[in-house]
Amino acid sequence: MLFNLSLIALIAPLFTGVLAGFIGKKIGKIFTNGVTILGVLISLIISIYILILILGNPELVFNQNAYTWLSIGSYKLSIGLLIDNLTVSMMIVVNFVSLMVHIYTIGYMHKDPGYHRFFCYISLFTFAMLSLVMSNNFLQLFFGWEAVGVMSYLLIGFWYTKESAIKANFKAFIINRIGDMFLILGIALLFSIFGTLDYEHIFNNTESITSNTVKLSSSFEISSLTLACLLLFGGAMGKSAQMPLHVWLPDSMEGPTPISALIHAATMVTAGVFMLARMSPLFELSTTALSFVLIIGSITAISTGLLGLVQYDIKRVIAYSTLSQLGYMVVAAGVSAYSASLFHLMTHAFFKALLFLAAGSVIVALHHEQDIRKMGGLKSKLPITYITSLIGSLALIGFPGFSGFFSKDALIEAVSHSSVYASEFAYYCVLIGVLITSLYTFRLFFLVFHGQLKDENIKVKEPQLSILIPLILLAIPSMLIGWPTIGPLVFNDFFANSIMQPSSNDIFGYEFTDSYHFLTHSLSGPVVYIAIFGIFVSYFLYILKTDIPEKLSTAFNPFYKLLINKYYFDYLYENVFARLFNNLGNSLWSKGDIKIIDNFIVNGTAYRVGRLSSRVRELQSGYIYHYALMMVLGLALFLAWVVFKSSGLVL
């Protein structure tokens, strides 16, 4: 019964998305948004229902194949569902944010000619994301993995006549494909060892392969597990936009704002983090891989946060913030605190979706203006957007009591207690990151809502209800969700049936009693003070002494230039790598195919045969002495050959 219900939860968004895509335009907007919202709602209700059932009776957790996808010889690859606490939590997060975004879209896109297409895409995306998290094997994971990538590709390029949009979606797809290549190689490595791609089989037998190695050269061997983890993490780096594969995410802001909230903040980009948690039985056996994860996450967390400080596009600031927070989640996975990592994923899904949707509300109110230099003083004009943005911002910086506080603080606590290689480096990164987060968040907040209204003439009013309702509905969990959930999710054994991690005492070095004590405990550490300090600094820089930022940027010009140019990653990719491959392709074609193979060998042979035959014609001159000469020459050559042959000199 539960299996069929889960199947309905999975299929509902697919079905309604296809309906909206095929017949939505003929029937009307109300049908389109109605049917797709219904699909997601069904899926959400089922997810919650399953959660309640599973909490009541943990025995109900199941792992079942739906059908055999492929069978070759003794190999079988299946499609199936694994419903455990991790899956259900992800389903709820995905469906909830998706539902909010569906409702929001009614208002946000109501004038857009691609209204139906948009609903079709976001429903299909929801299906793809669900199939990713509900999978019970690596194959289906990869299916969902690439399917969300395609939906992201289509949605970034939603406004397909805009050159910047179709450039961004191409870039996003290719960079993701680099990660996917590593992922498929990691999957192939696991397949070559286990002969199956089922999670259950692989995770239950990891111990048996701890001593397996892969020979990379005659003198260098690497543990199979480590290599598999590194390759899998390569996939996570692409999808969760970790350095140096992060460049696609800021550009993905070319897409409509609702999908920035849904795909590029709350769900798809966290797929990598989800995967790390799902693969914890593998990663836990390789400290090398964990350290690598930790280092990449730390670098991403701190360096992308800095970039958020110099951006002027409201969505791009939030996008860099997302990159930085994804770095945090990856860091947590690196210190084996998967539960904290997932917890941050969930709170982040709420408050970051909120921030994006609020930004969208501002953008709509200002008639599609995205430059924060042209904003300011919107506080009184957009009260609901203002309040919800404040809640989102406080949650993001980890202000005590807000959801982000619980998740970030638990995460940093885990880093500080870790003894994995590079954990000290990671600790300083995440600590400095807290200040940076606070700075860019409130820089944005103050510049948009406080200060002076830039243009008095422009009519600014709160957008319609369908935009505001999701803001309010997302603000509630952003503010409160941490209180009841941190205990069971992070410190207790809620994820015990799906994640393998050390006991919470080992990770956090701290006995958890209740959320209130967690809060008081945190007040004895530096994190919250750093965050609050950041708010004051932002207030000082962007409200009181607004000329200082500019002076700073001239004083530290080389550093500022580095940030403005995003560490030159884009330059490197576009002008070095892309150009290199393009030139390579061109020269292989013009030199290899046309010049050498076609002109020299093929047509050249034809030409030479032609010339030779005209020579041969000349030989047939009709003069006896010509023939006689030829015969003598031929005979001489033949004799020479025989002599050499018999003396064993040549041939």
Binding site: S71, I72, V150, A188, L584, V602
Partner: protein, 495 residues
Amino acid sequence: MIIDQLIWIPILTGLVVLILGEKRTNLSYLLSLLISSAIFFLSVYMYLLFDNTLASYQFELKVPWIDRFNINYHLGIDGISLPLIMLTTFLSPIVIYTAKTSLKNKMHQYIASFLILEGMMIGVFSSLDAFLFYVFWEAMLIPMFLIIGIWGGKNRIYATVKFFLYTFLGSVFMLVAIIYLYMKTGSYMISDFYEVSLSLNQQILIFLGFLFAFAVKIPMWPVHTWLPDAHVEAPTGGSVILAAILLKMGGYGFLRFSLPITPDASLFMAPIMITLSLIAIIYIGLVALAQTDMKKLIAYSSISHMGFVTLGSFVFFIQSGSMDLNTINLAISGAMIQMISHGLISAALFLSIGVMYDRLHTRNIEEYGGIVTKMPKFSVLMVFFALSNAALPGTSGFVGELTVILATFKVNIYIALLSALTLIIGAAYTLWMIKRVIFGAVTNEKINSQPDMKLIEAIPLSLIAFLILLIGVWPKPLTDTMNETILSLSYLVGG
């Protein structure tokens, strides 16, 4: 008997169409469409009768033909030939169907050529007698030669001669190899060839003889340059059949002749074959990136994809230690799936390019852009086919490449890494084309006045899209058909 009908009914219909002449073109068109569709359903009927659990030939028909040389008219199918025959019978009516939208002059001859070609292609895939195989193999060149030479583009004569010389030269060597095998065995039966014992040197020479024929057909680098030229000049239908089916004969040849007859030579030559496959995947992929002509781009993409077929057919030979049957099985299955999948996807892409060409009369990518603004329905299909070409999971393009990569990884990690580069390169050249052709602002005035795809254009594309999706979501029926045959082939190769 049923195979006999599959071969000769289209050929006879083709002759009837020729006799009916130009005046009764409409009648011929309907007749051809009807007959070729009936042939497709006949092949479906054959598929239903086909017994998956047998590795042996089925529907066998053996009639003495030339007694003096022990040549038989010997037909039969197994799990390798059946999917390829179904691909042929599926695409032939589609090609005939689309003749009407893209062709003006001498349509009856055009249709007749395709009908005759269809019969001969089925003949190639079902011949169990090497001589008969050779006859079909060569005879097939004639209609294809005419299709490109008569209905082709400006530079068609050069392309046709190049196509003919290449493939003909290649098959001459194959004929020598076949005759040599006949002299050894006294029989032209292909399965008799499997049992003859040959020294390594003899095997290598025979392998090379076959290699020339198959490498040109598939085509492998460096004997591939005829294909882009042929594609560019060929009419849409010609390109479809060329890419979807003719290329597959090379891959079929490797599985039917090279591997089982000369396993030791295959083992010996495997490093070269694998290198050439990787060159096809990477080098040709990069060359595809540089193309400015859509058809050329897809032609290069075809060569690159066929690299996976040759890779799957040979990669298992270089396993360290003893050869693992499971790996052989997996790799060859991957090669087969890739052939079927590529047949569908390349056909769809060439048809799609045809739809655009019929409107704008250019294949130059630069002259496109913003097609989606005027042809949204068409663009949905085109983007779908492009994503399939980039091996998106859920489409057939993914299944073959995944299977080959899985098998390759078991053999060698570096070869797997290099072959997996196709995930990036394939996506790059395909989606870059989509970016420039389908998306973007309209720059070419002519595009603004174009109507969207008509229903008659949508039907064939949708049918192919359905199959691509079906195989992508559930490839099991396809692999079930092939399993037993490939397993017995694996025994022949690795046993």
